[in-house]
Symmetry: C2
Subunit: 503 residues, 2 copies
């Protein structure tokens, strides 16, 4: 059999695997948005069956034989074929190396862990979650060891690699090391300035439908295509892609404040544009999906922060806001909206954090989860360690664990190694945006006229259409002409703090 | 291995098969109600993959071995176990006997056939559909032969059996034979009476949300549980069950007339109550699903016609209609609403037909599709045969094929043998309703107070909860204490015609 024929067999098998993943994704979207409450047990079973079938197909000897054949004749592959092989092998090796028994124990532990976490958070009682966290960490250690962690590799790396291929804990330490001091300094400057931002331009008694209507105008300008997408209400905002022709985002609102709905919609639409921009020719192939969570987050953060919290953006959209959403407490002056959108204020809760302190929240979690995983920090001592680190890094100390260590769902879900992708996203976003500004000199002049499409086209060309043909860091490097560093992010934040707080 | 252990293996395998079917059903529901237009190609692929996997699992040697073992030790099975074996074997034999090649050719032919039918209907040009119908019929003949048709069995029977297990063309001829004369006579009486029904109590400029609001009140009284269900808009009304805890119905409306929305909702909710009433202990087992399409249709027609078009029903709901949906052209007098809901008027389009002539539409299709399948009627001559038979049976002659042979989607979908289940449903419905009235003497007194729940409880106990443990006809026979005949239906229609038309 020729390499081309084997490649075709790989595509056939992978197409079916993609379809199983897509079916799952639609059922999960449906569960969050549409499913009646009593559907829960049926849905859990259907999802488990689809996962089991996907695992069966991914670990099947037939697929193993195809990949082994291609690995052997690797030299004959062109770069795109090599990318398909790399991604397919990566996924299969992971599936083969982790025993089914461990997968099932993890599923059980995180399912119980999530329930316990919900109760623990609502009662702010960490002891209810502690035994579950201990077990989950033990299972994550076991997973890491199956994947080579704890030997040549840092125990953290195989877990991180699942979310951000190629990244290591050591490189993250360097990246975060370069961020920590300057971010703390910026937060300090804001504190010392004593200035307060007036939020009233976003506040009032705001009809949710009008909030959505304004969001839709922005999304239309961004080029989020509703013939290939949907917007629905859900308890938490997310983006769910089921192929470039079917990308769905969700939103929620605060009746008194436009910001959660608006910036949430723009954030998710940033993810959505990435999914809609994937090359249809790569659809259902191993290298077809987005490059990594970090790159994905870069797209949402870029639109949310670098575009929609900028002054040119509000010069363009302020008149439209006045028109679509009257009745806010403060006037729709571009400058006032820019200030209100950019408020920097240290806070306990990550998902409400501003652009500057957000990354300190991530640093906190990264430091803690590394120590928890290695065993250096016993889980019983984690709440105190959290509170100390919060005070040290962010300058605020939680009084209740619900506002501290119990605030995030990730560890209860078993997502250890996930948090850093948020900050990687911020770093990539600023790095890419600087390049886009250089490549399109009139970019921000366009924002003033609500012309956002040139940016979408630039991102589609440089990032979206490539799927995971290139590894994430290389993709960003090629798009920007230089490897990503935190410098662009720091430059952006310094300028913003200076503009808003005069320091 | 013991019978019990093998049974457990059967349940495990069947649970996964059910889950695959459920995943498909949710994706199909999503496609009709939620999916953005550009999602079509992705969705088609996901559905094809899920169907292929289900076929692979249903025809797998592992499942074959389990069923063979149980068949051999059939005498040791209790009645419930025997029912599971019967239903599982039935499904597997069908899948094994029809070659994959034929399934694929049918999928292709009906996919092209559906497109051609849509165009043919919109242009009222039968010649566009003719070659597709020819091919579809050829493939259905081939399917029937694979299943034993054309030899000892009538060519029609294996196709019919798919929708109504145990029913045969010969028995249908007897049933329909008993219906035809009396129905024609009733239609004639109505014609001769010269009376016209005043439809204004249902007509006006009616806000769709208010139409739905009234429908919801009726559905709540019926006991359709929205914690275990949903109602959404779609181009055509349907009911989609994904387990007793997740049953979804769709509706459409006519701004000028409440009847399509209201009776459509009640009809689908009748199907929905059946799905919600299935025994959760039978969920995901071979004998878990509803008994047949005929029995399913009996539930929707019972609520739509025998309940919601009755005088006691409108005595109960007329005041509520006035309250929820003001602004209709005619007043909400119970008697007026009863008359308007029961109008008998021969018409060309089946889905708009009244209770009397509806079954003549079905008889027409049944007669024609038998002759088309056997080859007695060449497809080229079918439009003329349709028109003649329409004139003979219903008393109206289509002038355009769009209003004649091209009106229904079923043959284009390859659903030959499906139509009779509609009339079986009507027969079962009337037979069951007579029994319910006998078992609950205050039944219709309750309707006058909007108490519909006792009927749902009766149906749940007698029909819904049994799944397909009993074959359809036996289920109805045991529920009613006597085998179904068309007599109850005829009695009901005679009474109605007499009440409305004084004849």
């Amino acid at each position: 059999m020729t390499v081309q024929e084997k490649m075709r067999l790989l595509f056939e098998a992978w197409g079916r695997l993609s379809d199983l993943g897509r079916a799952r994704a639609i059922l999960e979207w449906d569960q969050e948005t549409m499913m009646p409450p009593a559907g829960t047990p049926h849905r859990a079973q259907v999802l488990a069956t689809l996962s089991g079938l996907a695992h069966e197909k991914l670990t099947s000897p037939e697929l193993g034989e195809i990949l082994a054949f291609l690995e052997e004749r690797k030299k004959e592959l062109d770069p795109l074929e090599a990318a398909h092989l790399r991604e397919a092998s990566r996924a299969r090796q992971r599936a083969v190396k982790i025993p089914r028994n461990l997968v099932e124990r993890q599923a059980r532990a995180t399912s119980l862990g999530l329930e316990a976490w919900k109760e623990a958070r609502s009662k702010s009682d960490y002891t209810l979650f502690l035994p579950h966290l201990q077990e989950i960490l033990e299972l994550k250690r076991e997973e890491s060891r199956c994947l080579g962690g704890g030997g040549e590799l840092d125990l953290y790396d195989p877990l991180l690699d699942q979310y951000e291929p190629g990244m290591t804990a050591k490189r993250l330490e360097d990246l975060f090391g370069g961020l920590q001091g300057p971010l703390a300094e910026l937060a300090g400057k804001v504190r010392e300035s004593g200035r307060k931002v007036d939020l009233s331009p976003f506040q009032g008694d705001l009809d949710p439908e009008a909030q959505l209507a304004f969001g839709r105008k922005v999304l239309a300008a961004m080029g989020f295509d509703l013939r290939a997408g949907r917007i629905d209400k859900a308890t938490h905002p997310f983006c769910s892609g089921h192929g470039p022709g079917d990308v769905r985002i969700t939103w929620r609102f605060d009746r008194g404040d436009l910001r959660p709905a608006l910036f949430g919609l723009i954030h998710e639409a940033g993810h959505g544009l990435y999914e809609q921009g994937l090359d249809p020719a790569l659809d259902r192939t191993p290298a077809g999906p987005a490059a990594s969570l970090g790159v994905h987050e870069s797209q949402s953060r870029l639109w949310e922060n670098l575009v929609a919290r900028s002054l040119p953006f509000w010069e363009g959209f302020a008149p439209l806001l006045e028109e679509v959403l009257p009745g806010r407490k403060g006037p729709a002056h571009p400058e006032a909206l820019f200030r209100a959108a950019g408020e920097v204020k240290p806070s306990l809760i990550r998902v409400e954090a501003d652009e500057v302190t957000y990354n300190l929240h991530i640093l906190l979690r990264f430091r803690l989860e590394r120590k928890l995983l290695s065993g250096e920090l016993p889980p019983a001592e984690a709440p105190a360690a959290w509170n100390d680190l919060s005070e040290e890094l962010i300058g605020v100390r939680p009084e209740r664990d619900a506002e501290g260590i119990l605030q995030d769902i990730h560890w209860a879900m078993g997502a250890v190694g996930y948090f850093p992708t948020y900050t990687l996203g911020n770093i990539y976003a600023a790095h890419l945006f600087e390049t886009a500004r250089r490549d399109i000199p009139v970019l921000e002049e366009g924002f003033k006229k609500r012309k956002l499409l040139p940016l979408r086209e630039w991102l589609r060309e440089k990032i979206h259409r490539h799927g995971s043909v290139l590894p994430p860091e290389r993709l960003v490097t090629e798009a920007a002409g230089a490897p990503p560093t935190p410098q662009a992010l720091l430059r952006h934040l310094e300028q913003k703090v200076s503009a808003l707080y005069g320091v």
